[in-house]
């Protein structure tokens, strides 16, 4: 789960990382009022969407009056912000964050993440932070410093000092940097983060370090030990179908095409998306049914696909394993079709445990499905069905 900038900043501030004072606003009026509350002479109005590249896309504006703050917020709120990272549809802006502006002399890049190759938490840092960090990293990788943390010893002072030195910091600034590093590491561990990226960690005219922008991702697998995340998640602007899917423990990601896809297994689902594309088809979603799925969870997934007006055909591919059985899938499909009878062709490829029972179950229940022999046959039939199906809003 991605946190919003204001959520991440509030969290880091609680760990002692300095951040500018700011207020979150859902209306232009609130944004204007925030400038009075914050005081000062200049402020930054920032669109709260989960994507980088906001500055270049007009999602960050520096203002020097309450009126200008209202104006900037007015333009952003309710609109869609299209950045290099959002895709063409962009992301809806429901909140802006108003911060006191500060003059800066230097921009540091600092990120904590899990290094997958070695399975440890690592820091990445560069003295050349800011919006161009990706190009800087590609052009001169020697200017990106990496510090890998041994979980047995934790972050050691000497290593933090060395990293500060590598970044050209000295004296009080080096000390402040080491303190920030320790705070970020503690926040990372205690909040089951997958990423905390501060870019820039700015050096102000007064010589202080301030986290000007923060991107934070937390590990969904650790939700059980963070009941407080529910609130963060409610504000995280997830698609309504994604909320429904989460309720039924389906791994679901909406996509742009018109073939509804349900597959028992994430890897196989990825493979199916590729096979549809090879045949000129486009998936409307990625939906992975976990091995522990029940009939009702499967039915909920099929209902979601039937309810998606873009979907012209549904492809269900099951490889029954030792835990999930194909007949559970069949019962789920039958249940959903009875609750919401529609005219969407459903193509089913069943293989593995209880395959025959699955086919029998669907036939006996009178559910009209097209059976496919193997993966290629299933993909062929799904693409053909989507092309000739009368339903759908005309997405390609």
């Amino acid at each position: 789960m991605n946190l919003h900038e204001y959520q991440a900043k509030e969290l880091l501030q609680n760990y002692g990382v300095p951040v500018p004072s700011g207020r979150v606003a859902a209306t232009a009026q609130e944004a204007g009022g925030a400038t009075d509350t914050l005081g000062g002479v200049a402020w930054v109005v920032k669109a709260q969407v989960h994507a980088g590249g906001r500055g270049r896309a007009g999602g960050i504006k520096i203002v020097k009056s309450a009126d200008a703050a209202r104006g900037a917020a007015e333009k952003m709120l309710g609109g869609r912000l299209v950045t290099a990272q959002t895709g063409a549809e962009g992301k809806v802006v429901n909140r802006v964050y108003v911060e006191k502006a500060c003059d800066i002399t230097k921009e540091i890049y600092l990120a904590a993440m899990v290094d997958r190759s070695i399975g440890r938490v690592a820091f990445l840092a560069s003295a050349e932070g800011g919006e161009n960090i990706e190009e800087a990293a590609a052009k001169s990788p020697d200017k990106i410093f990496k510090l890998i943390i041994d979980p047995a010893t934790g972050l050691e002072d000497a290593d933090a000092g060395k990293l500060a030195q590598d970044l050209g910091l000295s004296g009080m600034q080096a000390d402040a940097f080491a303190r920030a590093l320790a705070s970020v590491y503690k926040a990372f561990l205690e909040n089951d983060a997958s990423l905390i990226e501060i870019n820039p960690l700015a050096v102000t005219h007064e010589g202080e370090l301030v986290a000007l922008d923060v991107k934070m991702i937390v590990d969904d697998n650790a939700l059980y030990r963070h009941p407080d995340w529910q609130k963060l998640w409610d504000e995280a602007e997830v698609d309504v179908d994604e909320i429904e899917a989460r309720k039924f423990e389906l791994n679901y990601v909406p996509m742009d095409g018109n073939i509804g896809v349900m597959v028992t297994g994430a890897g196989l689902a990825l493979g199916i998306l590729d096979m549809l594309k090879d045949r000129g088809g486009e998936a409307a979603d990625f939906m992975d049914v976990r091995p522990v799925a029940t009939r009702d969870q499967v039915a909920a997934g099929i209902r979601m696909l039937l309810g998606n007006s873009h979907v012209k055909a549904i492809l269900v591919v099951t490889m029954g394993g030792g835990v999930l059985r194909c007949d559970t899938i069949a019962e789920g499909i039958a249940l959903a079709c009875k609750q919401a009878p529609g005219h969407v062709p459903i193509i089913v490829r069943a293989a593995g445990t209880a395959k025959e029972m699955a086919e029998l179950a669907l036939r006996n229940q009178g559910v009209d499905v097209i059976f496919a022999d193997d993966l290629a046959d299933a993909a062929d039939k799904a693409v053909a069905a989507a092309k000739t199906s009368a339903r759908g809003k005309g997405r390609k």
């Binding site: 089951d192 059980y224 297994g265």
Partner: protein, 292 residues
């Protein structure tokens, strides 16, 4: 032959009395796997499926001398269970648990360093050498004893490869699921090494997916060793975003790297034969091994 397990492999199950563990252990016993006991804190001293249940892994080790442990415990206790098995020096630990927090796995990885244990998973379907030994959650039926070693991040793609190699009459020497998470035990390289040394394995199917750099690292290794056995590789997710979690936690990359295209390019450059789709893994291996 085959890798990791054989007919003599003695196996305990951590979390034996759970519903899924019970069902799958019954099936493992029916398949011929030498199950010798279980570990369930609070239920030590009982018997389940005619197997002795122990309070701790250390007690189970003294009483049964297992070669492997199958970890079937919930995500909140999975890391402790793996670490307990590592500390008890069980040579092979296979964790099927899904949704283990990644920072827990950072601790488990640290415990593995310098230990006597090989870890498979978590989020793995397990290991099977057909007709000999099965540890995990895979369906038995599509497997046939044979010539191809399979190693995969995804369980269902692994089953597809098994089904396909059975259909083209190649069969499998051993099939291994290394799991779909970001931080995990044995990787592609570890399994490739074992397959290269295994006389029963004539060709290897490597199944990757978006996210991380495990496929690129495997490609780098293949370049160095120039294996004599053919490697067929399939990578899923050419048309999926890498900044979203596509089911497996390991598919998402924080900086959006780990594209399928980059992995395919690296593996092809290292001499692997690329299966063009998930439906073509068996056929491609059949051709690579000189059949039609």
């Amino acid at each position: 032959m085959g890798i990791l397990v054989d007919a003599d492999t003695k196996v305990i199950c951590q979390g034996l009395t759970g519903a899924t563990a019970t069902r799958l252990t019954e099936r493992a016993i029916a398949y011929g796997t030498r199950m010798v006991g279980g570990v369930v804190p609070g239920k030590g001293g009982r018997s389940h499926l005619h197997l002795p249940v122990f309070e701790t892994v250390a007690e189970a080790v003294i009483a049964t001398r297992p070669d492997a442990s199958a970890v079937f415990v919930p995500p909140d206790k999975a890391a402790s269970a793996m670490i307990e098995a590592i500390e008890a020096e069980i040579p092979l630990v296979i964790c099927v648990t899904e949704r283990v927090p990644v920072l827990d796995m950072v601790r488990v990885k640290r415990a593995l360093e310098g230990s006597k244990t090989r870890l498979i998973g978590p989020n793995s379907q397990g290991v099977i050498t057909p007709d000999v030994c099965k540890i995990g959650v895979m369906p038995e039926r599509p497997h046939t004893k044979g010539r191809v070693g399979i190693v995969s991040r995804s369980a269902t793609l692994n089953y597809e490869a098994v089904d396909q190699t059975t259909n083209v009459h190649l069969g499998q020497s051993t099939s291994v699921g290394i799991g779909g998470d970001a931080v995990y035990g044995m990787n592609f390289i570890d399994c490739l090494k074992l397959f290269f040394d295994d006389p029963a394995t004539e060709g290897i199917i490597l199944i990757g997916e978006i996210g991380g750099t495990a496929e690129e690292e495997a490609a780098e290794y293949l370049k160095q060793v120039k294996p004599k056995k053919p490697i067929v590789a399939y990578v899923a997710g050419l048309n999926a975003p890498t900044d979203r979690r596509m089911g497996h936690a390991g598919t998402v990359d924080v900086f959006g790297e780990g594209s399928a295209a980059a992995k395919i390019e690296a593996l092809e450059a290292a001499g692997a034969i690329i299966a063009p789709s998930a439906a073509d893994m068996g056929k491609t291996m059949r051709r690579a091994l000189g059949g039609r």
